[in-house]
Subunit: 435 residues, 2 copies
Amino acid sequence: MEKTHVAIVGMGTVGTGVARLLLDHGDRLARHAGRVLWLEKSLVRDLSKSRGIDDLPEGILTTDLSEILENPDIQVVAHLVGGIEPARTIMLQLLEAGKDVVTANKALLAQHGSELFDRARELGRTIAFEASVGGGIPIIANITQCFTANQILSLRGILNGTSNYILTQMSEKGAEYADALLNAQQLGYAEADPAMDVDGSDAAQKLAILAHLAFGVQVNWKEIYRRGLEAFTLEDIQYADKLDYRIRLIATAQLIDDNLELHVSPTLIRKGRPLAEVRGAYNAISVVGDAVGDMFFHGQGAGQMPTASAVVADMIDTAAGRTDITFRRLELWSDRQCEIELIPYPRTRGRYYMRFLVADEPGVLSEITGILGKHKISISSIIQHEPKEPTEPRKVPLIIMTHECEEIQASRAHLAIEQLASVDEKSYRLRVSEN
Amino acid sequence: MEKTHVAIVGMGTVGTGVARLLLDHGDRLARHAGRVLWLEKSLVRDLSKSRGIDDLPEGILTTDLSEILENPDIQVVAHLVGGIEPARTIMLQLLEAGKDVVTANKALLAQHGSELFDRARELGRTIAFEASVGGGIPIIANITQCFTANQILSLRGILNGTSNYILTQMSEKGAEYADALLNAQQLGYAEADPAMDVDGSDAAQKLAILAHLAFGVQVNWKEIYRRGLEAFTLEDIQYADKLDYRIRLIATAQLIDDNLELHVSPTLIRKGRPLAEVRGAYNAISVVGDAVGDMFFHGQGAGQMPTASAVVADMIDTAAGRTDITFRRLELWSDRQCEIELIPYPRTRGRYYMRFLVADEPGVLSEITGILGKHKISISSIIQHEPKEPTEPRKVPLIIMTHECEEIQASRAHLAIEQLASVDEKSYRLRVSEN
């Protein structure tokens, strides 16, 4: 059987998983690829570090990238370097050396996709990136191959496992945010610096990639409106629970009258709906297509072997020749004109949950509902609870669920309510979805 | 842009959906295929019948298959003829005429896959069949392309929308089986002759295809152990509900010690688990791979446009060249030796739900539990309810949930209990699963 020589750049957690699949399961990979995937070289920083692979053949590890770049036998390279630099430079060097690239680096694609894909096209090379979104969930292949008969109408997903793990711990164990985060770090879900996980940036990078694939829009992920777990507290999770909702960090891309709504928002999702029931570090994506209807995918969104599974599937597709066909057709990050425009965030529509701490005195509720009425927002339900601990002056939490309105209406009304003397300055507002 | 000329054989519900996608959305299909999919001919039985397509171009419809077979321009044909004959003969004729075929006919593949795939290989042609299992859920592409780095460990699915619709109606509306079936027929879910839907045959045909793809086993669907909705009554659904389970018709293919358990069984699934929460005419499939972990897919398992979505995606893959690569690698229904053997059904293991109608007199429970003990079956829980209507002699329902045992133990114990004088001859036994 013919061989395709491959290499791995970056032997961190995922790179080690890829090496294990290539070395331990060569037979089954060869059966699917129609050729042997022969691991020729793996670039590491430190040759002496233990890799947890018993049978790593002699001479595979190297600290010198040129041993991969200058080896003409090596055709496919798994690029598993995180961050922007030197990841960007390395990918360009690999493409220029004639290698087809498979990557898991969503930050790099979300930021420099246009440059990298243009360069790959110029050089007649390919970039495959299933592992960059959704870990083991093959959402990229499904959008770019399986749903090609459809106009995608919406994509809504839980794309960051760390924040979903934290949310689950808070809602099921009553854990405070800081404790749940520490727990996620101890379990290896969250990075040492988890800022990108919990502030919605990681989900926004993945959403930028999915929105480009599904709708053709090229958007810089930094321009996607996003909020993270700082936008609410354990109390909001508990109120949501009483109202029959769960809070999830939802990345949304949906067509509304031929324009695109795009944001990452902590959202109250009605219990029992698939996205509300996603627990722990799992990812899930709900896709609606105009022919296929609604589809739902659920699986492990991160972790060594699920991510390695996606990387190796891409390596097989590349070796077998499928990637080349898909890559050329997709015109990814190309100059192709896109007719879909982004809806400015203030013009997106939705229902809202608002929580205020208000003085327990006559006339306050009337003032607040008056402001909502003035901004033409109707109230769907309202709850006023006894305070957990008596405060002085006496204040009580007030929860309002609105009917659908524009974000700008909700934000203006919210601001006006916050400025009332009888309302505490600390208040919360979240999107609400029945689905 | 280049054209790939295509044809449709069989303009029933799905065929009409395919024609609508090809005619109404040519631009987006061309973008994905890299070439225009040009609908040249559609074979119908009756030229005068209305198709519900406004802009069907003149001259497309024909009642003469030879207009497709003998037109050398036509390269790809959507074969949407149900049943075995003449569907089999037509597919062979298409392959021999040099056409690549896309089909939705699972019965044909489950029964004659070996002959058809051999013939396609000999002729250098391809057969694509995403629409044959799971309707709009792209389970075949996911198994054959996205999870290629994995050994699949198990596949469990709700593969028949009609029976799931009936089950949902019975459990949520308290509908009797006959009424729910009539309802399914009125909504167009169930065939005029729904026997294959409700007796597990349709699910067994789909399972035979999935098991072949995932495990390499070639099994005649008629040899797959299967039971359908006749195996229980509304009462069992209600008892399951009280025990915190739902009954679903589950198609199972799972590796146990390197051998394969394969059956279609009505199963009590713990509420809250994804398969238990699948409602109405939806399909769902849970896949476990040794690298990717557990994945769950949920979507519309039948219906005009979801099925047409899968057919057209296959037509695009065939026109673009991906199908050719996948088809050659898969060695489908080939002579490749498979080392996995089927576990004889009596040797499969599981937990069981048993329901008996027993005489309300001293000593009966002791007799029954004695028989279970003799067959080395431990009891997990036991419920004896008051009868709904008094009977003479007075009989009461007895529900037993067992711990795990072999099917043969459960079936022998069940038979022995049924033969007790104090037990009514009508009794029920179902598999139980926590997942």
